[in-house]
Structures are given as C-alpha cells and as structure tokens.
C-alpha cells in the first residue's frame, strides 16, 4: 500500500524516509526554501520551509513525512511568517537588487517576489563586509550571504575540500574561508567546484561575468521560483 499525507488538502505520495519538502517537490508542489537543496543533506537553518504539521510549526526540509499527516503550507498565516523571515534576511546583509549581478538568478529575490514582499520593513543593519577578490576566477561578496551553508556542504561533501565554514554564533554568525590568511586566493578552491555553483544568492560569483546575460532574460525572469524549482533543478 502506498504511503500518503495531505498538503493543503492535496494527497501527496511518499516513500519511507523522505522529508515533506522532498515528497512535495516530486508531486510538483512548491514549498519556499533557501537552505534546502535536493542534492545535499538538509541544514534546517533558514526556516523558510516552515509548515504546520497537525497544527504545529516545523521545518519541512528536516521533517520526515508520515502517513496520514495533515500539512498546511500555503496559508496566509505561514506565508506572513515566511515574508517576515525574508525581510529580516534583506536587512541583515546588504542586498541592493538593482545593481546586483545576481538579480534575476537570485533565490532570495525570487522568494521575496513569490511571497509578495513589498519592502524590507525593518531597519537595515548595513554591515560592513568587504569583498574577497583574491581568487583569480571567483569573487566572494559577503554582503549578500544568508548563511545557508550550501557552499560549506558542497565543498565538504562533494568537492572534498572544506573551503568554507560558518563561524561565530547567533547574529554574529558569518562565513569564513579555511585558509590562514582567510582569503579564497590561498585555498585550492576552483571555479569547477560544486561549491562554486550552489550559492542561492550573489556571494560566490564567477569573475568578469557581471551583466553578460541581460536582465529580463534570466532564470526567474522567465518563470517564477515556484515553477522554476518544482520543475527540477
């Protein structure tokens, strides 16, 4: 007998061991997320994927699906919470979409659009985070890091290099580069690494590429993130 749960009233099949977000993705139902990536172990940190299971909040990227679960996701209440989380991410870093080269390919921006975020709402922190341009092929612009740890996981689990790590606690958490100098140019990081491809925002960037692809012809210009993601990435 196949296993199922309901998500916003829809019956979703799953196999044992799958998380809610995995099963939903397979069934073509989008649940907003930032730190989740189907190819990596879940991190459960951004909380964008929060749903209500039998009335209680939980992260759908870490929660295993169980038969008969009643899951709510696309509700006014939950989306309002997701919107607030997104707004906090916008003010914590320096995100200026009109001059960001990731604009149109950025999951944070696309998620903000998806959630109908009209403004950052909170006061900006305006942190001072200089870029690391020491690597010949890749630029790190820490201004936009949302601490999803995808690069950490990709570098460690796929590339076997451990180039990145999250350091500090709470609001002081930040991304560091594992080199004595702390500079990317002093690691064995390479443009072909998986870790160079996974950043959902505009931190890890191929150098000298910039605006080669016009705004208007980019990933989320063509389809909103809800479609772009469920169609498989």
């Amino acid at each position: 007998m196949s296993l199922t749960f309901t998500l916003d009233g829809k019956t979703i099949p799953f196999v044992d061991g799958e998380t809610i977000i995995q099963a939903a993705g397979k069934a073509g139902v989008f649940i907003p997320h930032l730190c989740y990536h189907p190819e990596f172990k879940p991190h459960g940190s951004c909380k964008l994927c929060t749903v209500k299971v039998n009335g209680r909040h939980t992260a759908s990227c870490t929660m295993r699906a169980m038969p008969g679960m009643v899951v709510e996701s696309d509700t006014e209440e939950i989306n309002a919470e997701r919107r607030a989380l997104t707004q906090m991410l916008f003010v914590e870093g320096n995100h200026f979409c009109p001059s960001c080269e990731k604009s149109g390919n950025c999951q944070l921006q696309a998620t903000a659009y998806h959630l109908g975020m009209m403004s950052p709402h909170y006061d900006h922190f305006f942190p001072n985070r200089p870029v690391d341009a020491t690597h010949p092929d890749v630029l790190l612009d820490f201004n936009r890091c949302i601490l999803c740890s995808l690069c950490v996981r990709a570098s460690r689990d796929v590339d076997g290099k451990n180039v990145f790590a999250l350091s500090g606690r709470g609001i002081k958490t930040h991304l560091i580069v594992n080199a004595k100098s702390g500079k990317l140019g002093d690691t064995n990081f390479a443009l072909a690494d998986k870790a160079a491809q996974v950043c959902p925002v505009g931190v890890i960037l191929k150098k000298r590429q910039g605006f080669a692809v016009p705004i208007g012809e980019r990933k989320y210009d063509k389809a909103p993130i809800s479609e772009a993601v469920t169609e498989g990435k």
């Binding site: 009109p98 001059s99 080269e101 200089p130 870029v131 341009a133 020491t134 630029l139 612009d141 140019g185 960037l205 150098k207 000298r208 590429q209 910039g210 605006f211 080669a212 692809v213 016009p214 705004i215 208007g216 012809e217």
Partner: protein, 487 residues
C-alpha cells in the same frame, strides 16, 4: 581669488534670502542671497549638494558591477553614467574598438536618452517660464498651465519623452537601471519587432523636434533684449567633438575655446583629461569648481552643455539640425553667443539632431547583429567621457590586479557648469533684485537662470512639478524676517 558677489565684505550685517530648494531642476539645490537694509545684493551663491560619497562607495567593488551601480547617481540621466562608466571600463578590459553593432547600439541608447532628457527639460521644466513669462501668475506657471493653454505643445512634449524612453528600454533592457552596456560591448541587440516599433514613430518625432526648434527660435528672436542678455557672462566653453569636428554626444576628443571662439586645446585624448583640467575646492560649496589648467583658476572656468557643444563643433552631420545650427550661428553674428537663455535654443537643435541620428540608426542592420563583445589586454586604469544631456561627463577608474576598483573620480556635467551657473545668477541678482522688494516673481528670475543650464543638482529624483519652494528672509542673526513659500 574672489569673484564679484561671491563673497560679501561684511556678511554679519546683511539679511539672507534662501531659495531652498530650487524648483523644477533635478535634484537638490539652494541659492542664498545676502541683502542689506536697502535690499542691495552683496552675495549670491548657488549651493549644490552633490553625492561625492559615491566615489568612496564604489572603491572595493568589482569593476564589472560599476556601469550598473553608477546609475544610482542620477534618476534623470542614469544612461549617461551607465555609458560613461562602460566606456572607462572598455579601456580596462582592453576593448580598444567595439564591434560596429555594440557602438551603434550604445549610441542609439545615448541618443534616446538625449531626446528624452531634452524633451523633459524643455517642455516640462522650462516651457512654463518661456511661454508665460518669468513673473507670470505662479499658479499657471507649470506644466499643467502649459497643457491648458497650449495643449498640442504639452502633448508633444510627453510623446517625445516617451519615445526616448522607449529607445532606452529596448537598448538598455529597462527604462531605468538598465544593463545594456557591459565592459567591452553590449549584452543585447534589437529584435526586428523592437526596431520596427520605433521606426513607426520616428518620422513624426523628427518633425516635432523641428517644430520645437522653431518654437524656441521664435520665442528667443522676438525678445532679443531679454533673451540675449538675461544672466549673461562671458566664458570659455568645452565639449567633446567627433570626427571632422562633428557634433557628437557619444565619442570624440576634447576641444575648448575661449570666449571669443579661439581654440584653447583641440584633439585632446580624454584619457589625459587631468593634464588640462583641475578641480578647485572652495570652503562654502560641496561641489568642486573645475578649470582649465593652462589658464588658471581665475579665468579658466568654462561652460558645458548644449550652448557649448553647438558652438564648439564645426558642423552637424544630420541635415535638419545642421540647417538650424547655421541659423543659430548667423543669428549670433559670427561670435560665440554667451546668453544663458540661448541654451534652450541650442538644446532643441540637439534634440532634433538626436532624433535624426536615431532615424539613421534604425535603418542600420548592425542593430540586429549578434556580434556584440570584444576584449583585449587588461589595463589598470581607464577614463570614459561622454556628452551627457547637461554637458561633458567624466568617469575615471583605477582597478587592481584582483579586479577591484581602487580609485574613482567623476566630474559630472553640473560640476563643470558650477562657476558658470553662479555667474549667471549673480548677474540676474544684480540686474533684477538689486534694491527692490523681493517677490516670488523676482526670485523666479534666479531660478530661470539656473534652469537654463538644466542642472542635475544632486542627481536625485523628485516628483516633477511637486518640488516645494521656500524662500526665507533671515536677518544677520538668523531670525526669520519674512518668508514666502509655494508648493
């Protein structure tokens, strides 16, 4: 060095009038006037709050981001900054010569910008003064008044501007904060549909531009007493000129003439602009005062923009605009015209030229090409110069071996005109305000002189026609004597 009326002898005994902010100019400007008990004018200064912080802000940023980022400098002519930065970065990436398609697409974008900016300035911001008079009823002296009294003129103003914005949209990708130009070329060409859409309208855009020249020519020549002398001062003038000395807004070499039209320098490669131009800092103003080194601070300042360009070039390459240029030069009588209000006439000649060039470009199939990018040997330093709607615009960058900007210097058009605008308003203050009871109409005369230069004061936007004007007469201790305001 002190200029007449720049600094009063005993400011502590004088009353102060501030026009803050100046209305119908783009951005934030303020004029202060010091008067004595008999309303005699002792000091007049135009203060411009310029966003110099920007040069600091882009230090440490990767160079390829700059053409998009610099557009934040200015909500009205972002395309000028976009292109001037791109030209500087062409030098950095070693793109000595762009592909024909890239150069033409950028030129199209720029001339679209010229058209929309000149149309905006003339029809929305200045036609109220020119059509109704400088001290006409203030409730009528705005674009709404023009729309009521001259509906056809107002409508054309709107459509000319819209067309220019459309040209920008298809070349830059967006109407504001476009990304079309990238170091070494452009990232998109035109589709056939986009081109055909523009071709549909361009012929009447050219025709309306011709009529706009005639309109301002008539206004000017009907009242030579006013138009040839209002706010007049003599100065050097400077601009880029293209091949064979053609009027060229996108590319060329630097040429400067003295007040009699004699060449000061010519054919100057703008990579070396800092050998001929220096910027002076004065304690009372945030905006610097550039001057031509060989002449010195005192007399080396100059004007830029339409009046400088149209008189600096040898000829204009398009027939209708060239015809109008000749009429203008004939009217001036063989010597350079220095009257600030002649900016309007020359601005409309330029708008006509922009429309004609757009028409020519739209018939060029290079616009549809996919050959858009070149690169070459990487350089550490580059200068990009463009003739923006308001005048010569300089962008200068140094980039380190990690591709990060280490130095930026910008001289914007309005800075180039800084001393010139100050001179114009001092002349007006002396001629119209001196010894009289200050009224709103009289103060508007000051603004008319500033607006002739089309300053883009802090390069910030505001809702058009909504900018409030506050005038305060304050005594020497700062106490309010009298205030006038409009909104």
């Amino acid at each position: 060095m002190t200029y007449q009326l720049e600094t009063a002898q005993h400011p502590e005994t004088l009353r102060r009038v501030a026009i803050d902010p100046v209305s119908r100019v783009e951005g934030h400007g303020k004029v202060t006037i010091l008067l004595d008990d008999q309303n005699k004018v002792h000091q007049v200064r135009l203060h411009i709050v310029e966003f110099r912080g920007f040069e600091k802000f882009i230090q440490g940023r990767p160079y390829w981001e700059v053409p998009v980022m610099v557009q934040r400098l200015c909500g009205i002519c972002p395309v000028s900054h976009h292109l001037a930065a791109s030209k500087a970065l062409d030098v950095i990436v070693g793109a000595k010569k762009l592909t024909p398609a890239a150069e033409k697409l950028r030129r199209l974008m720029h001339y679209g910008q010229m058209l929309q900016s000149h149309a905006l300035h003339f029809f929305h911001l200045c036609s109220p003064d020119l059509l109704f008079g400088f001290d006409s009823d203030v409730t009528q002296r705005n674009i709404v008044g023009v729309a009521m009294a001259h509906p056809e003129t107002a409508k054309r103003g709107v459509l000319l501007r819209k067309f220019g914005q459309e040209v920008i949209r298809v070349t830059a990708g967006k109407r504001v904060h476009g990304t079309g130009a990238v170091p070494g070329g452009v990232n998109k060409s035109l589709t056939i549909a986009e081109r055909d859409e523009l071709l549909k309208d361009i012929y009447h855009i050219v025709q309306w531009s011709r009529e706009a020249v005639k309109l301002i020519q008539k206004v000017h020549t009907q009242d030579p007493g006013l138009y040839n002398s209002f706010g007049i001062f003599r100065s050097n003038f400077m601009s880029l000129v293209g091949h064979n000395g053609d009027l060229d807004f996108y590319h060329g070499t630097l040429r400067a003439r003295d007040d009699n039209g004699k060449l000061i320098f010519d054919h100057l490669d703008y990579q070396n602009y800092d050998q001929v131009i220096e910027e002076e800092v004065r304690p009372w103003s945030y905006m610097k005062f550039p001057f031509i080194r060989s002449i010195g601070k005192e007399h080396g300042w100059y004007k830029v923009g339409p009046l400088a360009r149209v008189q600096n070039c040898n000829q204009i390459s398009t027939p209708f605009a060239e015809h109008e240029r000749k009429e203008f030069v004939d009217y001036a009588g063989g010597t350079p015209m220095h009257a600030p209000l002649a900016y309007h006439w020359t601005r409309m000649i330029e708008m006509l030229h922009a429309a004609e060039v757009i028409k020519e470009l739209l018939h060029d199939d290079d616009l549809l090409s996919s050959d858009l990018m070149v690169e070459g040997e990487r350089q550490m330093e580059g200068v990009g110069v463009i003739e923006a709607p308001r005048g010569t615009l300089f962008h200068h960058y140094q980039v380190d071996e990690n591709d990060v900007i280490t130095m930026a210097n910008l001289i914007v058009s309005t800075t180039n005109n800084n001393q010139a605008m100050n001179e114009a308003i001092r002349h007006v203050a002396r001629r119209y305000l001196h010894g009289r009871e200050i009224t709103e109409g009289l103060l508007n005369h000051i603004e008319v002189a500033i607006r002739a230069f089309d300053p883009c004061l802090s390069c910030a936007t505001h809702a058009l026609g909504k900018m409030p004007l506050e005038v305060e007469l304050v005594d020497a201790e700062g106490g309010l004597v009298h205030s006038l305001s409009r909104s």
